[in-house]
């Protein structure tokens, strides 16, 4: 037991989780913005934008996140020498955010589209009947209801995003949870199980409230029909 507690003096476990939370937070914001735009493209009357939205979703949804992040770290950072900040660490951190956001935007788009599908036909017909054209109808009538219908699937995407933030280890965003766990196990192989359970429990504690909260919110905010 003392052995186990000494781990927390040597390694800063909460700080590692904090890195994952930050990664998830920023990536979630960007993914939500990009995903909403893509969803608008896919439901718009303009064929080229529909095509672009569909192509984006099919490409990014079917590519492993590991490849997208490897592309960011090996391709953009090492080969193309694109850096997003003057400091190395910050630059890697931001590339990880961009990769996570690009990947999850495809799932956000699909979640919002499934939310749009929960809006009954009559709502769109009524919007048209009072003379709203596509953008006003989308902004005032369809999207507010679609977002409320999309809370549960969006929550699932957020949960996946939090878990996927560990993949940033592929690009040696070093201070992050899965990377720290690897280091800790390598140095303290006598404590393999306690270390793994600590980190696993950390994610359970992060993920389960998000699940409960989004389930509660999706019920609370569900459009009564």
């Amino acid at each position: 037991m003392e052995n186990y507690l000494s781990l927390f003096e040597t390694y800063d476990v909460p700080a590692a989780f904090w890195v994952n939370i930050q990664l998830s937070f920023w990536a979630a914001l960007w993914a939500l913005a990009l995903g909403t735009v893509l969803a608008l493209f896919r439901i718009s009357p303009i064929p080229s934008l529909q095509w672009f939205g569909a192509a984006y979703v099919n490409i990014f949804r079917n590519t492993p996140l590991t490849i997208i992040l490897a592309f960011g770290f090996l391709g953009l950072f090492s080969v193309m020498q694109i850096s997003l900040a003057s400091e190395l660490n910050v630059s890697l951190f931001r590339i990880a955010i961009v990769g996570l956001a690009l990947y999850h935007a495809a799932f956000v788009c699909e979640a919002i589209r499934s939310g749009v599908n929960t809006v009954p036909l009559g709502q769109a017909e009524a919007a048209r009947a009072i003379g709203l054209s596509f953008l006003p109808a989308a902004r005032l009538i369809i999207l507010p209801q679609a977002f409320r219908g999309a809370i549960a699937p969006l929550g699932n995407v957020l949960i996946a995003l939090i878990k996927n933030s560990t993949v940033a280890a592929a690009g040696s965003v070093a201070a992050e949870a899965s990377g720290l766990m690897k280091t800790m196990i390598e140095f303290r192989s006598d404590l393999v199980f306690p270390i793994f359970l600590t980190f696993a429990l950390g994610f359970v504690i992060l993920v389960i409230p998000v699940g409960l909260l989004t389930t509660w919110a999706s019920r609370k905010l569900a459009v009564a029909r």
């Binding site: 590519t63 492993p64 989308a138 196990i185």
Partner: protein
Amino acid sequence: MSAQQVLFDAPGPRARRNILIGNIVGVLIVLGVLAWVISALAEKGQFAGSMWAPFLESRTWEFFILPGLGNTLKAAAIAIVTSVVFGLVFGVGRLSHVAPVRWIAGVVVEFLRAVPVLLMMIFFWLALGSSGAVKPQDAPLIAVILALTLYNGSVIAELVRSGVHGLPRGQREAGMAIGLTRNQSLRNIEVPQALIAMLPALISQFVVILKDSALGFIITYPELLQYTRRLGVGEGNVIPSLFVAAAIFIVINFALSTLATRLSVLLSFRTKGRKPVAREAVALDAAST
């Protein structure tokens, strides 16, 4: 509802003109973005012939891409079989009428679904490697398979459960009426129908397994990404190599996704289950890597 037909009226002359203008602007924007990406890549010489020439040589395919793809498919194929078995066992466990079995299966499934796959992979890799239970060179493969099985198996267990819950109550009642026990009716009547109803969702989960197998890259399992990285470092064409690896994954996954969509239409009359079983819930779980 199909959003396309509902959000806007059948366009009249003015709307048609606006759509045409929008379409042209849209094409220009899309082409502009593509041109920007391509010119940025071309500026660094990523489209030079020498970058892509290795993919025309047979040794590139023979020694890098095909062995890598083989290892990826091997890990994914084994993990698919084991996670279906795991999912069936725990899915039926969660439906058991023996309360403790139900609770234990529930806790296991919920726990495994909340832990990142990569965390499990790293844990099994290092634990197996240091324990000496397996040969050191086998540890990455076994770790990949174990981690994929535990996570995706739990998702499949949830699929089985929602598939059975989606069946009309009459199915079980009919089973009881002809004298089956609850277990028999579960095994012989409910689960087989649930399996058919969940087949499309199951195939979507196979896409997740295939994508997640690329995580093996991080724990040194020599799968496709690992090999293409080696190729890229050796030939100095990291970006083209990653493009090829991504393209291979996209083609396979796109084929699987298309199959899933076709099947969901084809099978919809073969089961009493709700038609698109848990399609929503599952399409979203696909977000996992």
